[in-house]
Structures are given as structure tokens and as C-alpha cells.
Symmetry: C2
Subunit: 262 residues, 2 copies
DNA sequence: ATATTCTTCTGATCCAGATCAATGCGTCCA
DNA sequence: TGGACGCATTGATCTGGATCAGAAGAATAT
């Protein structure tokens, strides 16, 4: 995504929030927004669907509902009944949870290939909001269960995804429990870099579609502290802030040191 | 466990740490410490093994190695290769991770029925230490994989356990990222209560086998702050500290309010 | 153009919780 | 029996990051 678009997307998102327009999701069955099918899917190798052989894909195709969610709109509201799971195929999504008085914890940012639905709760405890325009495939939970029941590879893949998420969550617990502000921000930049390498963007230039406030709520800080940490990393020549939402990692080894991961 | 024993166990643990005696784990095959088998297992219904029918238990029995770990000894060291998984059958275990400069994050406390091994890493990134004398069953990872390969219920159970862990980890991320000290301590007490209800101890009197320092490292606080929070809850008649490691929850609704979970 | 909105950045001040320090209690061991 | 040790509690002080308060940039709306 070209850089100026990102800013525009953010603005659109903000304006949508202002006018409080209804979230376009979930939509009625059949209202597919992007010409797309499982066989030609860009992110199949990154996602759940990687567990299915070509021959099984048509069965998946039949239970899939595809949706486009514009930037700023809500995919899932905290408290919604957990009736479907969801696979992000393009865009960036923010998962967040609120405390009664408005304090917010961002549980994670989702990129193409990421999956929502690894939980045993019967309601979503977080909301999912599109940071940029987002495409996703969702499956009724019962369909997915039927499918996984006679597909051990799919069941196994779900297990592996849950374990990976768990590894990441434990990393985040260490960060939130014991790291300083600068360590958190350094860790975050390296995490985003790692994610973008997986996506095939192999530059040391990372794109941050989320705001400083989003980052702060992910790292258990305030946006001012995040901003100051960015500035300090810039002053120390560890990063260059090309644009607000685009950062060059000039010195990754140093960033690694600063991240606290020995 | 009667209360005074707990104090003694802690002392033993401390003395073991002092004299730096070697961890008695992993032991050679066959060195079973407790007379115990899968069919008569107390915690089967709480654990992984619940997924297996009676008829399949003997197969599990054959790949199981049982160990007793005395209080204060180490079950797993950070960095050990992940060659086995482990099921706690009695006792309490602390999982913790260290930052290079000694800062510690306790990732969780394990009770009977809890499982270690839901990860995709090939090395343990945390250490596991027995807080009280602990019995566990462990399985070579490859045995477990063989078993789960032709046992969909076991595979499914592993998936569900990973999802439960993930739900808990997200709860903890909210706590570590956004809750105040008092909210953290209140949440912790309620969490322990919940765990002890599962174990069948249905009193509003909870046992805390871990030290204030352990609790602090679990909650991202210092032990002084934890101690002060306990004192404040006592002053406000929300809890009664019967003994250091035994707490009565006098007013659970109030504790719930104070925990920040609306 | 100009006003407006959203966001970031930076400086000044404040405070919750960390750190430092002292006391007491229970257990172990010589 | 006394001293050492581990742990918990409480008080005094300090500080990293929160909060409060502008200023300025970037884009949209008019």
C-alpha cells in the first residue's frame, strides 16, 4: 500500500467513527465483496487453509463467506456471540479489549493470514476493528467443526496455530510485566519487522498502519511515552522516521540490544 | 495440605536453592517415585488424559514416566531442549522467565491437571520450579505425537487446552497492560479461588503456596506493592489474612469490583 | 484559500509504584 | 538456646512514565 493512502485511510476511519456509521459486518450470506476463491488465494500458505489439500479446497470454498471491511469499521464487537471464525486475507486489524472505565488494551494486530477464533469462550471478549481496508473469509463455527472433525490435518493445524499464539502471548506478558518503555517500543519494532518479513516484505523499512495511540495501548504505555521513545531512538540513530507511519530500522543489532532480549 | 507443612516446604525449597543441589529431573526411565497409574489417577478428569477412553489408557501408561520433584527443585530449565511434555498430578509449579539482568516474569502457576508443552518452540523459554513437592507424568514428545496422530480426540483435547491457555494469557495481558496494583492483586485472588474451586476445594478460603515475591513477579509488581495491596484489602475487610499463605475472601462481590472486571 | 479535524511531538508537572531501609516473626541448625 | 536465614510488613524517599497542556503538521471539507 502506498504511503499517502495510509494516512487517507486513517482519516476515513476517524470520520466513520465520528459519524457513527454502522459497521458493515457481519453481512448477509452471499454478499461477497472481492472476487476471490480459495484456489487463487494469496495468503493460503500463511493461513489455516494451508492444512487442506487442493482437492479439499472446494469443500472449504463452499463454507466460506468473504467480506470487505472499510478502514475504521468494526468486524467484531466485544460481547458478540462467537458463531464464526475469521481469516484475514488483506489489510490490518486491531484486536482490543476495554475495561469498564475506558482503559484499553490492544491484544494484537492481525495481518494477512492471521486467524480469529482460537478461543473456548462462547462470546468474543475483544473487538476487532479494521485499521486499513480489510478483506476476510469467515466460516460458521459449526461448519469449521464439521470440517475439522474428519480432517486431522486441519485439526492439527488449528492446534499449531493456537500454540504459536500462545508463544507470542507469553512474549507479550514478559514485555508488559517487566520491560521498560524503550524496551517495549524496540521489541515492538522488531516484532513488526518479523511479521513483515513473513509477509515477504524484506526491507528494513517497516510500515506502521496503526496510530501511536494504538501502539501505546498494545504496549501498556501512553501515546506520549511511545512518541518520546520513537524520538529517542531517532536521536540515537537507531531508527529513522521517514514518515509518521513508515520507519527505517537503521541498526537492528542495537535495536535488539535495546529490546531487552539479551 | 495442612498449613504448617507449607511453611516448612518453603524453607526446604530455600535451603535447596542455597546449597545449590542438583535438580532431580529429568530422571532415568523407570525411576517412578509415586505408586500411581493412569487408571487410578486422581486428576485424570482435569487433564489431557481425559480425552482417552479407559481402553486407551494402558497405551498411555506405557509411554508415561512419573516423577516426584521436591519443593524448590527445578523441573525444567530455561533453554532445555523441548523433548518431553509434562502433566502435573500433584503440587504447585511456577513457570518463570528471566531477562538478562535478572528481572523475572512469572508466566503462571500450575496446579494438578495442568500441562506443560503447548508450544511450537524446540526449547523451553521458561523454567519450571516446584513450589511444593510435585508429582508429574511426562511423555516423550515423539510418543505423544504418535499417540495423537491416530487419536483425534486427543488432538482435539490438546487444541482445546491451548485455546484455554490463550484465553487466560489474554486476560493476563489486560491485567499487566492496564490494571492498577490493587486491581491486579484482587484479580489474582479471584483467579486462585477459581482454580481451587476447579480442584474441588470449595471454600472461600484460599491457599497461596507461592511467596509474595512470586505473586509480584506474576503481576508485574514488586513484593512490597503486593504486600501493601494485601494489607489494604485486609483493612477494608475484603479479605482476612489468616496466615501468610492462607487468605479468607470475606467479600467476593467487592473483590470482583476491585478487580476491574466491571 | 481557510477552517476543521485528527494526530504527533514536546515541555511541565504529578503520582503510583519502585526502591531503599528497618523491624519482626517463624524456622532451622549448631 | 541463640543466632542466622528467609520472608512479610511497613515507612521514607525517589523516579519512570502518566497526565496536563500547548504547538505544529497533514489531510479533508467548504
Amino acid at each position: 500500500m502506498p504511503a499517502p493512502d495510509l494516512y487517507r485511510a486513517r482519516m476515513k476511519a476517524a470520520s466513520r467513527a465520528r459519524t457513527n456509521s454502522p459497521a458493515p459486518f457481519p453481512q448477509a450470506a452471499g454478499s461477497n465483496c472481492s472476487a476471490h476463491n480459495c484456489h487463487s488465494c494469496d495468503v493460503r500458505s500463511l493461513s489455516l487453509c494451508d492444512a487442506l489439500a487442493d482437492s479439499e479446497l472446494s469443500r472449504l470454498d463452499r463454507i466460506t463467506r468473504r467480506h470487505r471491511t472499510p478502514a475504521g469499521a468494526t468486524l467484531i464487537r466485544e460481547g458478540d456471540p462467537m458463531t464464526f471464525a475469521c481469516n484475514i486475507t488483506s489489510g490490518t486489524v486491531r484486536l482490543s479489549r476495554l475495561l469498564h472505565d475506558g482503559r484499553r488494551q490492544v491484544m494484537g494486530f492481525l495481518f494477512p493470514g492471521d486467524f480469529i477464533g482460537l478461543t473456548r469462550r462462547n462470546r468474543f471478549v475483544f473487538s476487532a476493528e479494521a485499521i486499513t481496508d480489510t478483506d476476510c473469509c469467515n466460516f460458521a463455527l459449526e461448519d469449521l467443526e464439521t470440517l475439522s472433525k474428519d480432517n486431522p490435518r486441519l485439526q492439527r493445524k488449528l492446534y499449531e496455530m493456537a500454540c504459536s499464539e500462545l508463544d507470542a502471548a507469553q512474549e507479550q506478558m514478559l514485555l508488559l510485566g517487566r520491560k521498560s518503555a524503550l524496551e517495549r517500543v524496540a521489541s515492538f519494532l522488531l516484532e513488526v519487522r518479523q511479521r513483515q518479513l513473513q509477509q515477504g516484505d524484506d526491507e528494513d523499512c517497516i510500515i506502521l498502519p496503526m496510530t501511536r495511540g494504538d501502539i501505546a495501548d498494545y504496549l501498556g504505555l501512553t501515546l506520549e511515552t511511545v512518541s518520546r521513545s520513537f524520538s529517542r531512538l531517532r536521536q540515537e540513530q537507531v531508527i529513522e522516521i521517514c514518515e509518521t507511519y513508515r520507519v527505517d530500522l537503521l541498526d537492528c543489532p542495537r535495536l535488539q540490544d535495546l529490546s531487552g532480549n539479551s
